[in-house]
């Protein structure tokens, strides 16, 4: 190696690195679609099944950016995404009122559940109302793991504390600042309670030492909407691509697929299709 760096070696490296990667993907003629969404749609595996179906029909690539709903909305509200699939109705309505989003449509629902250790030391199983359940948690007989990441789940949790008239504070209140999967594992390891969407819980149940200790309140309905950044505010947004994905989500075939997704693996579907329904009706039915 007298004349290091050997040019031949360097060239060989460059050729190797420059060679096309063995990626087998359909031909892509249209612009990429950036989908800003929540972690639950990815962590349950739903998007892994839906996105390839859409890519085949649109001849485009979908870039799924799965972050908490708070960050997903913040990104899309700046025009940094082409379509948003999110689950924080109150926050979404605020953005829509500000004119940041258009074409908000219901896609699917499932529900939130309060999870806790099997022994249920805070006695949530006896709670009648969701407020009672949260008051029982605040007595601090067991830790509570909060997402604390401005996700849809976290925003709902904050609303529920407010409804119960409690400001969660103290050593029992663990603000973990992570996604749903990580928060579930922390809760499981620390024998803590937590709030989760049912889909993520079912998808990961086998690795967790947690039980459903409270469920079924109308406030715990988990509603997913799709919406598009306002084309008037963001000229760079891929409006046709985003709209095509939104249309795809509410199309009858996709809705039918959503209604069965997860049945073979988890014994029950993880989401209920809800396109063309009204939010009020869904809440009334849950009540």
């Amino acid at each position: 190696m007298t004349n290091f760096p050997r040019p031949a070696l360097a060239v060989a490296c460059l050729v190797l690195l420059g060679a096309p990667a063995p990626v087998h993907a359909p031909a892509r003629t249209n612009r990429d679609v950036i989908l800003a969404t929540t972690t639950s749609t990815q962590d349950t595996g739903l998007l892994d099944s839906l996105v390839p179906r859409f890519e085949h029909t649109c001849g485009c690539r979908v870039k799924t950016i799965a972050v908490g709903t708070g960050r997903a909305l913040a990104l899309a509200a700046r025009g940094e995404a082409d379509v948003a699939l999110v689950h924080a109705p109150a926050l979404e309505e605020r953005y829509v009122a500000q004119g940041k989003f258009v074409g908000r449509r219901l896609v699917m629902t499932n529900d939130f559940v309060v999870l806790g250790p099997k022994a249920d030391p805070a006695g949530l199983k006896h709670a009648k109302q969701v407020e009672d359940a949260f008051r029982a948690l605040a007595e601090g007989k067991a830790p509570f793991a909060s997402r604390a990441d401005s996700s849809g789940t976290h925003l709902l949790e904050l609303t529920l504390w407010k409804q119960a008239g409690i400001e969660p504070k103290g050593p029992w209140y663990l603000e973990v600042g992570q996604g749903m999967g990580a928060t579930l594992r922390i809760a499981s390891q620390k024998e803590a309670y937590t709030l989760s969407d049912r889909g993520t819980f079912l998808a990961q149940r086998s690795t967790l030492d947690l039980d459903v200790v409270f469920q079924g309140a109308p406030d715990l309905l988990n509603i997913y909407h799709v919406m598009l950044p306002n084309p008037d505010s963001f000229p760079k947004v891929n409006i046709p691509g985003g709209r095509a994905f939104a249309d795809f989500l509410v199309a009858p075939e996709t809705q039918a697929f959503i209604g069965t997704f997860g049945t073979t693996r988890f014994g029950e579907p993880l989401f209920k299709p809800a396109a063309n329904r009204r939010e009020e009706d869904l809440r009334r039915r849950a009540a």
Partner: protein
């Protein structure tokens, strides 16, 4: 414990079977981090030599900045790079966010200071009389630089290993600027985070083993070259 054993076994199954998804992710990791390392060499080595051999105002400050850069947090680089690459950002017109190129850019920013800092240290560590001697023998400036690089080849290869190691292993920047898009920007580290988040610990461990194996193979090649160089000294 069982998980680590079964995960490791799973990793070797995936590798031996040549699982297309794992191969694709592994290949992308190697390509992205390899290109980032090459770019950091192309810029970092000359910069390091300049800092080692020339005296100019602000040199110590620049060296201090570069040495600080050797410990740049990947998430900070990822965040800053994202903001620059946003559609509304100053480099938004390039349309690079959530592409493999965006990861290369961020990883380059992480590796270049490592290479530049270690190069400067390696060249400065050489006997200063060597330069004078070479000049006295009538060597051209280019010949002197080549000779100095040759003399410092062992620590320089260590710089290559350190630069590559810092980028192939980082997750924060790849996640933020790449977006972890399947078949496109999902690299070994971000895939590991995702599988952990999904609760698929065996797959996560398998991917970790694949990552370590890959890093080992690349490092082993460079180390072999380095040690052969050492013997011929």
């Amino acid at each position: 414990m069982d998980l680590i054993l079964s995960g490791t076994r799973h990793a070797f199954e995936l590798l031996l079977r040549g699982d297309p998804q794992v191969m694709e992710i592994m290949w992308l990791s190697l390509r992205v981090s390899g290109i980032a390392t090459l770019l950091s060499l192309v810029t970092g080595v000359p910069l390091g030599m300049l800092l080692a051999l020339r005296r100019f105002p602000g040199r110590t400050l620049l060296l201090g900045v570069i040495n600080t850069g050797m410990g740049l947090p990947p998430v900070v680089v990822g965040l800053v790079a994202s903001i620059f690459l946003w559609r509304t950002g100053p480099l938004g017109f390039l349309d690079l966010l959530y592409t493999p190129s965006a990861i290369v850019i961020a990883q380059f920013a992480l590796a270049a200071p490592v290479v530049a800092g270690l190069t400067a240290a390696a060249i400065q560590q050489l006997d200063p009389r060597l330069q004078i001697q070479l000049a006295g023998l009538g060597a051209s400036r280019l010949q002197i630089l080549r000779r100095l690089l040759h003399e410092a080849r062992l620590p320089l290869l260590a710089a290559v290993i350190a630069g590559f190691g810092s980028v192939i292993s980082e997750v924060g920047a790849s996640m933020m600027v790449g977006g972890n898009v399947l078949h496109y920007t999902r690299v070994l580290t971000t895939a590991t985070v995702l599988e952990t988040e999904k609760g698929n610990f065996d797959v996560a461990i398998a991917l970790s083993v694949v990552l370590l194996t890959l890093t080992f193979c690349v490092t082993m090649v460079v180390t072999t070259v380095q040690q052969r160089g050492a013997l011929r000294r």
